[in-house]
């Protein structure tokens, strides 16, 4: 299992704050993104390839090639706007 967390506009539009997902076939963040896009609707729209998506694995900035393993916390969020 891995934990998925969503923030800001992603959290609001997908209506999900966090969820637990099976991780058997997830080698990297891109595998997770592909699986989520297959849900269709807002998932495929917000996570489309041409969208700007930021991601973190275990609270460190990551990219689609970042490897995953069981127990990881993966966060997806739009570009940050603090400061």
């Amino acid at each position: 299992m891995v934990q998925l967390r969503l923030f800001a506009r992603f959290r609001e539009e997908l209506g999900v704050d966090s969820e637990q997902l099976e991780s058997d076939d997830l080698r990297c963040v891109e595998d997770l993104l592909s699986r989520l896009r297959q849900r269709g609707g807002a998932w495929s729209r917000l996570l489309a390839e041409d969208q700007r998506i930021m991601m973190a694995v275990n609270q460190e900035m990551a990219n689609p090639q970042t490897p995953l393993q069981a127990g990881d916390e993966i966060a997806l969020f739009p570009p940050v706007t603090g400061g």
Binding site: F7, Q59, M61, P78, V80, T81
Partner: protein, 156 residues
């Protein structure tokens, strides 16, 4: 050497600068940046703002940025405070204050930290405007600001 704080209450930038200066007689230069909430953005009046963040990752991200600055410049101290939660216009959003023996280091490190914070620290602003609520969009100019630091070496 440095202090990082995420604060859900209003904070006083002056107090932070005083703590940074302390009474250390080796400090010759203090440069500080205060980001303040404006009442106008993209042409709309903004009544208040909510700042969401990613607890845990936020502090890690800020610490990594500050450590990079300490590796790159000779600094005597640094304080970063970022507000989260409900804000109203004129509230301080962020303070970055840097102390050094000489001014050039302090200017560069301060601008570096706020430039990186803007694109690398997990904060998101949602504005309540006269036309409803909206998430603030990231700016391309902030991405450009970061690129300058990686191209230009420490003399940017």
């Amino acid at each position: 050497m440095y202090t990082i704080r995420v604060d859900s209450e209003p904070f006083d930038p002056n107090h932070e600068v005083d703590l940074l200066r302390g009474e250390d007689p080796a400090i010759g230069a203090v440069v500080s940046f205060i980001g303040l909430m404006r009442d106008l953005n993209e042409g709309d009046r903004v009544d208040n703002m909510f700042l969401e963040h990613y607890p845990g990752m936020t502090e890690n991200a800020l610490e990594q940025i500050v450590k990079l600055a300490f590796e790159r410049w000779q600094l005597q101290g640094c304080r970063v405070v970022h507000r989260v939660g409900e804000l109203k216009p004129t509230d301080p959003i962020v303070l970055v204050a840097v102390a050094s023996a000489h001014r050039k280091e302090a200017f560069q490190a301060c601008e570096f930290i706020i430039d990186y914070l803007k694109t690398q620290a997990p904060f998101w602003k949602k504005e309540a405007t006269e036309n409803g609520e909206r998430w603030v969009d990231a700016r391309d100019s902030d991405d450009e600001a970061i690129r300058q630091w990686s191209q230009a070496g420490s003399d940017h």
